[in-house]
Each structure stands twice: as structure tokens, then as C-alpha cells.
Symmetry: C2
Subunit: 497 residues, 2 copies
Amino acid sequence: MTTAYQDLETRFHRHSVLQGAMAVLHWDSAVMMPLGGASARSDQLAELALVCHEILTAPELAEVLSAAEAETDRLDDWQEANLVEMRRRWLHANAVPASLVRELSEACSKCELVWRDARAENDFPAVRPYLERVVELTRQSAQAKSERLGCAPYDALLDQFDPGSRSENIEPLFDELFGFLSEFIGEVMEVQAQRPHPIVPSGRFSVSAQQRLGEDLMRRLGFDFERGRLDTSHHPFTGGIPEDLRLTTRYDEADFTSGLMAVLHETGHALYERGLPIQWRHQPVGTSRGMTVHESQSLIIEMQACRSDGFIRSLVPLLKDAFGGNGEEWQAANLIRLYRRVCPDLIRVDADEVTYPLHVIMRFQLERSLISGELTVADLPDAWREGMQQGLGVVPEDDRNGCLQDIHWFSGGFGYFPTYTLGAIAAAQLFAAAQRDNPEVSASLERADFAPLLLWLGEHVHDCASRYSPDEILIRATGRSFDVETFKTHLRDRYLN
Amino acid sequence: MTTAYQDLETRFHRHSVLQGAMAVLHWDSAVMMPLGGASARSDQLAELALVCHEILTAPELAEVLSAAEAETDRLDDWQEANLVEMRRRWLHANAVPASLVRELSEACSKCELVWRDARAENDFPAVRPYLERVVELTRQSAQAKSERLGCAPYDALLDQFDPGSRSENIEPLFDELFGFLSEFIGEVMEVQAQRPHPIVPSGRFSVSAQQRLGEDLMRRLGFDFERGRLDTSHHPFTGGIPEDLRLTTRYDEADFTSGLMAVLHETGHALYERGLPIQWRHQPVGTSRGMTVHESQSLIIEMQACRSDGFIRSLVPLLKDAFGGNGEEWQAANLIRLYRRVCPDLIRVDADEVTYPLHVIMRFQLERSLISGELTVADLPDAWREGMQQGLGVVPEDDRNGCLQDIHWFSGGFGYFPTYTLGAIAAAQLFAAAQRDNPEVSASLERADFAPLLLWLGEHVHDCASRYSPDEILIRATGRSFDVETFKTHLRDRYLN
């Protein structure tokens, strides 16, 4: 006889398989699809999203969930955690009436489309009414979810990307970090001014040579090309499914540095997906634990490991091999300075490790105000300039380099931004703990050998999947909850010494 | 108020969009997917097939169909034809119990997998029990469908690929063609022996040069690269959806001839899909009219147009440009002989235009006997050798080059083979009619200009979609039903004169 819990596993398995199909179609849209296929593809994805939504909102599901929750004595710890995750997903899916889900989804699609042109033409007024509609519907959705989840409306949005995340926990972290960085950046700029200016290697770095090197580094990181690919897209991302991970980067033939780091960053994401426990694949408890933990895994590879002295030294011969480079600019000391340049600037995605959190903290504050209603969309461009002045001391001359730069809000992604910086904080804590547990973690990077680090991450992060909350994962792995100290220590060590 | 008919349109629209998603995932499996993703992909496709099947077997659908059929006075001709197609699809989906659908689908997946190795290792006994299971379940499925469709079991299988097709109509055509070819091949071989032996251009023809030429020819055929791509796969095929057509070919750097013709063949398929009426996209009546008409569209391009004297003459400068060729073997007369070599041989996919139907006719006879039970799977290898001896006068030394060569039966595709030769017959009739209607159809091929032919095909075939039966389309376009005369005339003109 099938128990209520088994019935749930079957339903969520089906949901997960269909989500996997959507992930491949998403990847294809960004990497392979010709322009003319866009409208048909968005119909396909909307139809699949509807099928998935119907699985989670089947009328009988509430009863099946309750029945399973009444028989937890027959479940083991993982099954119990799975049931909790099932309930969480059910709450998110059922909190909002279907009509609002559809309206919001349509409003986001339309707004994102208008935003593409508005950004290109630096025309905020053109997209303003569309963004107003997205904000209004997002507020309604947040309100509906907040009642079911028992949290503030903005926190209900956070919870979609980072389960259990609440502003009251983020705020003190971000406040402390903001205070620290406000002083720290000045110190770093002073130290930086006294050092030789880094030289950017010049030349033509062919796409094929960059790709070969990227794939070589992915292999060193343990990426399995029998179960994934590396391709090109406008923005780097990791798509696909754990059995078939689709990474992308972009290439600039005049400058290999950023495309290469993007490969390493995305490989961090991919190794997390690939490392999730196979026996729980296709169940909610077996998925990655939200975007904060995900970002911690990409940043521990990109920022903690790959911008370390040791790794950059081991990278030098590989770079010389790949590009035939020679001369001063190819020496480790120069490349280390190059990969650690700090410069307050306008664009988040181009920001360095030190100034990046200030971009995020400003967006966190602005989006909370938009959702609470304290800030109107009409006032957003001014608020943006003010925030940039306060946080980074630079002010965009136009909205293209200001509030139009990121896709997130225009596609309905409120509550996502904080995960970038929470991920950076967690990455510092995890790397320090890994190093403490096994000194080989950083020593081996001198040989471009990531095995000790990945072994530790597998055991302490990947194997946990969604068995624990992000906070619990961090505490179990490092002995401490989220705190800014380790990140501050990391920044001081790297940028002042 | 929504009428029953409108309700049906909504359901079939949804079905079509999901089928489109499956088409992209299929393409990805063959072109992009790393090996390790195969099992997850087959889960995704099975899940999507189930969702589609559930749409067509929803319990209330029978009533909605009947209600719509009771109000046809409110429908126009296209809507009425759409309703007929809906009923046909409903019959196919509901004739077979869900358990048998699943059993058959699993048996086919397994058998196909075993077949891949069995063919490589020339080991028919290894795959025999799996094929037996597939045949047994296919017979059950055919029996169930035959009762609902009111036709013989084998005809119910034909009907899946070629709506309305019945063996009693195919048999006289194939008998006549068999009789004709038995003599004709001998005559062709004699004539051929008296002519210079064609010289195969030798050299290294880079994949990139072949691809550029293929894309150039596709553009001349009117293919829109904003709405499609050309890639590489093990077997050439046309996938995707009308808005985003994904063509593939394969390249041999020692011989460009077959890869190039495959591109032209697939472009014929693609232009048909692309030419279907936009206002009926996503409705059953708006889809291509089965595999016979589809094959007629690929063969009219590849065989009728592109192996004509005129086109091959116009191809010569393009080939020389692409490959830098020079000398006797690059002259039109040689290339014409090369593209028209006739030679009875073992492998269907490598067969020429003249001997190809004999491969098909034998398979038609064998698969009918397998479905009727007159032939057992155990006796298939012997029956194959006998059939080859009778039809082509050549006998394979092993099953790899015999009954293991084609994927069709091992993946459950019974009733598909006849459409190849019915398509060739229709292509000859359509090309002759087009030429009769407008002499520019063949004259313009001298300039590699396909516009007059495509204009005619658009009007007489593509625009019809599934509004008429294949037979009706042919009669409306050419004045005659399927008959072998025009094909025979075409072969005589091309191979004896």
C-alpha cells in the first residue's frame, strides 16, 4: 500500500523532472536559440510552468500533506526534512491565487522585454509603468505569502530564493559590513596607490584558446564533461540538471581575465549541483539549499580559492601555455595585483570583491522600500543616485549605468540581491573552516589542486542538500552562524597585507 | 461563452506547445547532450509524453468532442477539418489502455538500447527477445487501435504516420513498382556500364567549408537562419518547431557529396514545416499531413530538383568556390554521373533513388508479416536474406548489414517504412505537375533559384496543412491520386536517356 508520504514523493519527483526539462529549455534559449524562436519558447516555458504549478496546487494535495505529517513516526530524518520542504513549496504555490500568479508572470515578461530596449536607450520613463505594475503585483503576492508563511511581506520574497532568510537577520550583518567597508575602501585605495599599477596583458586571446584553458581548469576542478558542457552566452550562468550541467561564459579576445574567472565561478555552482546526494535527487530535500548557499559555493571557488596567491602562482604557467605570454605582465605578482584591483564604480557585475557588497546593500534597502511602499518607482532613479553617493561615492550620469543596469527587478526578482553578499560572507567562513580542518586546502592550491577543498565542501555542504537550513549548514560546518568577522579578516589579510 | 469547439482548441493548443518543447529536447539529445545526460533526458521526455497523453485522455474529453461534433453548423471548413483531426488523435490516444502504452514505451526504450550494442556486435540473438516483446506489444496495440479505427491492425499502425493510409492501396502501387524495377535496374546498369565511370573528387573538404556551403544553399532555398540552425548529428534529421527549425547533417572530410545532399533533403522537410499556415499553428489541422507528404517535400528538393541536370550545373561554381576544386572530376557531366550512380547494395540509407524502393518494399512485406504473426522474430534474419536476394540480388553476410541496420522496428516504428517510397512517388507527381503549371520551375534551377518551385509547393502543399488527406492533396495538386506512372517516367528519363 502506498503511504501518504510515498504519494508525495511520486508527485514531487514528477515536478522535479519537469523542472529539469525547463532548465534545459532555458539553457537553449540563452545559448542556441535563434531570435525568431523566442516567442514560441516563452509559450513552452509558460505551459510547463503551469503544469508544474498544477502539480503543487492539486486540490487533494493539502490532505495528502496533512496525512503524511500525521505519520512522521514512520519517517527517517531525511524523509522528515523532505516533508518540511514539501510543505514549504506547497505554501509558496498555494498562497497566491492562480489569477495573480498569471498576472504577475505576464507583467514580468512584458516588463523585462520593455526593459531591454529601455536600458539600451537609457529611457527609464519608458519602462516605468511596467515596473510599477510588477511592483504592485509583487506586493500583492508578497502580502498573500506573508500571511501563509507568518513573516513580513518582503521576507516572503526572500524566502523564495533563500529559505528561512529574514531581514531582521540580514540587517545587522549588512549594517556592520557597510560601516566597515566605508572606512576600509579608503585604506585599500591608499595601500593600492603605493604599489605598482597592474599591467593588463595585451594581445589577441582567441576564443578557442580561452575555451581550452577554461575547460582545462574545469577538469582540474573535477568537472565531468561526460555530464556537462561549456558554451557561450551573453551573461555567464550555470544551467541544466545535475546529470547534465550546462555552463556558459563570455569571451573578450582583448582580455581573457574576466571570462576565465566566470568559468571558475560557474564551476563552483556546478560542483555544488553535481555533489548533491544522488539518492535524494528529484526530491525537495535533495536540491541545493537556496541561492545564498549556492553563491557561497561559486565564491569559495572564484574568490577564496582562485584569487589566492597560491592559485594565481599555479595559474601563471597555464596562462603562458595557453596564450604564449611572456614578460613582466605575466608574472604572478602582477597577475595577483590585477585580479585584486579595487575601484568603486557604477556597475555591479563588474565590481571587485571589496566594493561588491555596497552595490548589494543599496539594492537591499531600495527593494525593501519599494515593497513596503516607502519608495515609489517614480523616485527610484533619484534614490539610486543618492544610494550610490552614500555607499560608493560615485554617481551614474544616466539610468543605463544606474537603476536600469540589472535585470532582477524588471523580471520580478525581488529578494534575490541579498544572497550575493550573504554568499560572500558564508564563503569566507567556510573557506576559513576548511583551512582550519585541513591545511592542505590552501597549500594544494599552489599546485592548482582543488581536491582537499572539494572533499571538505562535499562533506560539509554538498552532502547536506536541503536537509538543514542555510544557517544550520553554516553552524555545523564552521561552528558559527552567519557573521561578518571572518569576511572582514579575509579582506584585511588580502588587501592590506 | 466558450463553445465545445473552443474548449477543444484550447486543449489541443496546450498539447501542441508541449510537443514543441519535446521536439527541442529531442534535438538537444541528438546534437548537444553529453552521454551522461541520456537517462535523465529520457525521464524528462517520458514525463512530458505522459502529460500530453493525459491531455488527450482526460475523461471529459469524449463528451466535449461529441458536443463539438453536434454543433458543426457553426464551424467553417477548416474548423470542421480540425475537429476531424482532433477526433483522430483522440481515437489513437484512447484506443489503447494506459498500461499498454507504458509497457510498449518501456519495451521500445529497452530494445533500442540493446539494439545499439547488438548492431555494433552483429549479435541478433542478443536483441531477439527484446524485439519479440516489442512485436508482441505492438500487435496488441495495433489490434486495439484497429477496432476503434475500423481497419486492419497493420493499417492502424500505418495510420499513425500516414493518416488514412491503408495497405490495400499501397500493395498495388508497390507490386507494380517492384515489377518495373526488377527489369529497370538491369537496363540502367547496362547503360551505366557504357558511360565513363564517375570520378569522386578527392581531397580534404573541411567541415567548416562544407557547413558554409550547406548554409549558403539553405539560404538560396529560402531557409531563415533567424528561425533555425544547422548542426551536426550522427544521422541527419529535421527537428524543432516551425518557428525554430533545427536541421542536422553529418560531415565526411574525405567526401562532401552525401553530407551536402542531406542538407538539401532536410531543408525540404524544414520548408514544409515553415510553410504551414500560421493561423492554424498549434491546432491539429495546421500540422504537416503525415510522413508520406513530408517525405515528398524532402525528396522533391533532394531528388527531383537538386539531382536535376540544371541544378547540378549551377552547383559546379559553388562547389569550386567552396572547395577550390579543379579538373575533370569537377565538371558538371561527371558530377551528374556521380550523383546518379545506381548500384544494388545492402544498406537502405546509402541506397540510390532507383534501388531505394526495393529496400522499402521488402520491409513493408516483412513488417506486415511480423504484425500478422505469419513471420516470427526468430525467422527474421533468414526472411531478410531471402527478401534481399529476391529484390536486389545481393545478400548480406551478417545481420549488421541485414536486419539490424535500421532503428525503426527496434524502437517500435512499425508502419513507417512505406512512407519513404510513397513520398518518392508523390514527389515525382508533384514535380511534374509544378513543371506543367510553370516551366520556370525547372528552368530556374539552372540558376540555383528555387523560388518558382517553392511558390508552387507553398500554394499546393504547404498551405493545405492537414486540411485534406494526403490523397486529396495529391489529386488537388496534380489531378491524380497516387500512381506509379510519373515516377517510372521520371526514372526512365533520368537514367536511360
